[in-house]
Symmetry: C2
Subunit: 140 residues, 2 copies
DNA sequence: TTCTCAGTTAATAATCATTATAAGGTTGAT
DNA sequence: ATCAACCTTATAATGATTATTAACTGAGAA
C-alpha cells in the first residue's frame, strides 16, 4: 500500500530525514519548518538540501506544494486530491477529504480546458473562536 | 453603487494613481506590477508607498490579497465573493463569478466555525492548450 | 499668516524566502 | 583504484517584503 510511489532517487540520510519528517505530517510545513525540525538532530543539514529535496519530491509527485500561505510555500505529503480548511485566526490548516462536484458553465471557462480544482475553506478554529480572533489573512 | 466603501484616507496623487491602476483591473497584479506600471508616468513613486498603500487598502477591504501565486502576493480590486481559474501553463488568472454551495459535514469541520470558501480551478488557457504546455505550478 | 501636528512619502537598510553557483564528498560500476 | 553521476554543503545572489528614518504636506490652532 505505502510504497512511496517507487521513489527513484538515492535515499541519503538527509533525504530520509526529510521523508520521515514529512510522513503522515498534517501540519503543512514550510521549508524552514522542515529545516528547523531536522537540523536539531542533524546539525550538518544544509538549507539547500531541504530545498533541493523538496523540489525533487515535488517533481516526483511525492509531495505537493501549497499556495495557501501568502508568505511562504508549504508542503503537503498527502498527494491525494483533497481540500483545506484554514483558520483565519492562527493559520492552522486541516485537511478536508470530502469531494465536491464543481462544474463551470461553458461561458465562464474563457476557453480554458479545466483540469482540476481546489477549495480553501476559511473559518476559526476552536481556540481562536473563543478568543474572538479575527487576524491573519483572509482567503484568496 | 461604486462609492469605494468610503475610503477614509488622504487621496494623495500616488494613492490615486494606484487606485486608478487597480480600478477594474482583472490581471490580479503583484506589487511590482503596480510599481512598474505607475512609475513610468510617476517616476518619483517609491516602492514603499506601493506596499504601504496596498496594506492600507487591504485593511479597509478595498482590495483583497491573493495567495494564489506561490512566488508573490497578488492583489484583486474585486472584493465581491468570487473564485479563480488559473492556467497551469502561463499563470494567467481569470475570475469566476459562479456561486457554489459547499457544505462541510460536521465531522470534517474539526470544531471550526466555517466562514467562507474560495475555489481555485486549474486548467490550460487557449494559448497554452495549443502549445501543449504543462509547466507552472499545480494547484494548492 | 505662521506654527504645529498628524499623516504621507521616499530613500534606504534590513529581513526573509528562495534560487544559483561552485567545490568537495559518496557510491557504484568498471 | 578510478571515474562519473549524483549529493551535499557553504555561500553568494536574487526577489519580495518589511522596517526605519528623515523630509514633506496640508489642515487647523494661535
Amino acid at each position: 500500500m505505502d510504497d512511496r510511489k517507487h521513489i527513484s532517487m538515492k535515499l541519503t540520510p538527509q533525504r530520509l530525514a526529510i521523508l520521515e519528517y514529512l510522513e503522515n505530517n498534517k501540519d503543512h510545513p514550510s521549508a524552514s519548518d522542515i529545516y528547523n525540525a531536522i537540523s536539531e538532530r542533524f546539525p550538518t543539514m544544509s538549507f539547500a538540501t531541504v530545498y533541493n529535496t523538496l523540489k525533487t519530491l515535488k517533481m516526483k509527485d511525492t509531495i505537493r506544494e501549497l499556495a495557501i500561505d501568502p508568505d511562504k510555500k508549504r508542503f503537503d505529503p498527502d498527494t491525494t486530491p483533497h481540500h483545506h480548511l484554514i483558520c483565519t485566526g492562527c493559520g492552522k490548516i486541516v485537511d478536508i477529504h470530502s469531494e465536491f462536484i464543481l462544474e463551470l458553465a461553458e461561458g465562464e471557462k474563457c476557453g480554458f480546458e479545466v483540469t482540476g480544482n481546489h477549495v480553501d475553506f476559511y473559518g476559526l478554529c476552536p481556540r481562536c473562536k473563543n478568543r474572538g480572533e479575527k487576524t491573519f489573512h483572509e482567503g484568496s
